[in-house]
Amino acid sequence: MGLDCKAFAELARGDFEFTRETRYLTGIIKLEFGGGIVWALNFHNGVLTLVEDGVAVSDSDCKIVVGGRSDQWESLLEDKPLPFYQCLQSAAVKHQMKLSDTNETFAYLPALNRMTTLLRQLKNGRA
């Protein structure tokens, strides 16, 4: 899909809603994009400190895990996605994308929604 993790990190750190909705989060959000591309978003007390390659990071070391095949991500990140790719949760239930069910997953849903919006902006050249 060609998403640039550094560009995402810069966008996320400058985004009011994303930084507000990740407040107090300490730990890793792992994003598996398919084709061996994995990002590990590292947070400390709400601050996104590092976005690194996450291939070697196990799910059990993460607070939240999101994943899918590259074609599923393509569908999710369309500007106007088809039903039911409107968000991670509907894509997980209806299209079998992977989404953890930890307390943090539910607690940080506002951040995950915003993250999806930022990824859409990046993919579609609107960032």
Partner: protein
């Protein structure tokens, strides 16, 4: 010049299952009574655009009520509600609009509801057709989508009634139900309303939405649309009750009419009222012509 919406609000006392409830409702317009019921965990604010639509209110008295424990309808005074888990049952869902209709002296109103209110429109047409001249199920079906039903109440409470999770997340979760074509202001308004709900209320409402509403094929076939016409409207982006689920119901109810709605989701009345009214107005015209 001071600007007002043409909406007035009042409290009415309704007795249901032996408990007196102080119930808030808003209304606008005159003519055929149209009771509108909100979605699980939300309240009658969802209908503010409809209540301000002169094309509707010139012929219809629109009444939007907050179920007890929702919006401005507080939990019942004198009941130790904090000592029991809140759950919404089918019997109670049916009883509230009936009691409201009786209390306000309405003559065979129309009922329209969305989500759990949409399921209720089907249950009202089935169980008390003599009370309503028509019901309009917005996102109604025989039952909700199996992928969500299979989660179970324990899973539902983990997501929506969890002390580790801030209420903002309930609003955020509603994104799954919303069309990407909806104006962002409206999306945020839906999320705001959900973030304002009482503790455990959304989860408890889902007992009715996912489990207590479960209409059999035979019950659907027995709905008599000559007594109470059943109209069905479902948004294409609704994963909980998709057009496929509503079509299954429409295929069973003789005379029922169904329109899938393009570019709308589970909350069409609030998501994009300008789109929704294009489907609603012809239905209201037909009901008026048949009244």
């Amino acid at each position: 010049m001071t600007k007002h919406d043409p909406i007035t609000g009042r409290y009415v006392y309704l007795t249901v299952e032996g408990i007196e409830y102080r119930v808030y409702y808003e209304e606008a317009g005159q003519g055929i009574p149209l009771i509108v019921g909100h979605t699980a965990g939300s309240d009658g604010r969802q209908y503010r655009h409809l209540l301000c639509d002169e094309e509707v209110t010139r012929n219809y008295r629109v009444i939007a009520f907050d179920l007890p424990y929702h919006g401005k309808s507080l939990p019942p005074y004198g009941v130790r509600w904090w000592e029991q888990e809140y759950n919404m049952t089918k019997a109670r869902m049916i009883a509230f609009p009936n009691a409201l209709s009786d209390a306000l002296g309405l003559d065979r109103p129309v009922y329209m509801g969305s989500s759990m209110g949409g399921h209720l429109a089907c249950d009202l047409a089935s169980t008390c057709p003599e009370r309503y001249r028509a019901t309009i199920a917005v996102e109604g079906a025989l039952r909700s989508a199996v992928e969500y039903v299979d989660v179970g109440m324990a899973g539902i409470r983990k997501e929506f009634d969890n002390p580790n999770v801030n209420r903002t997340s309930i609003g955020a979760a509603m994104m799954l139900n919303i069309s990407p074509y909806s104006p962002e202001e409206n999306v945020r308004e839906i999320q705001w309303e959900y973030a304002c709900g009482g503790p455990g209320i959304f989860a408890g409402d889902l007992l009715y939405y996912y489990y207590e509403h479960n209409m059999s094929d035979d019950e659907a076939r027995a709905i008599d649309t000559s007594k109470c016409m059943l109209y069905l409207l479902t948004g294409e982006y609704d994963p909980n009750t998709s057009p496929k689920e509503t079509q299954a119901l429409a295929d069973l109810v003789p005379g029922a009419k169904f329109w899938p709605m393009k570019q709308l989701g589970h909350f069409p009345v609030t998501e994009d009222y300008t789109k929704f009214r294009q489907y609603l107005l012809p239905i209201l015209e037909e009901i008026k012509a048949n009244s």
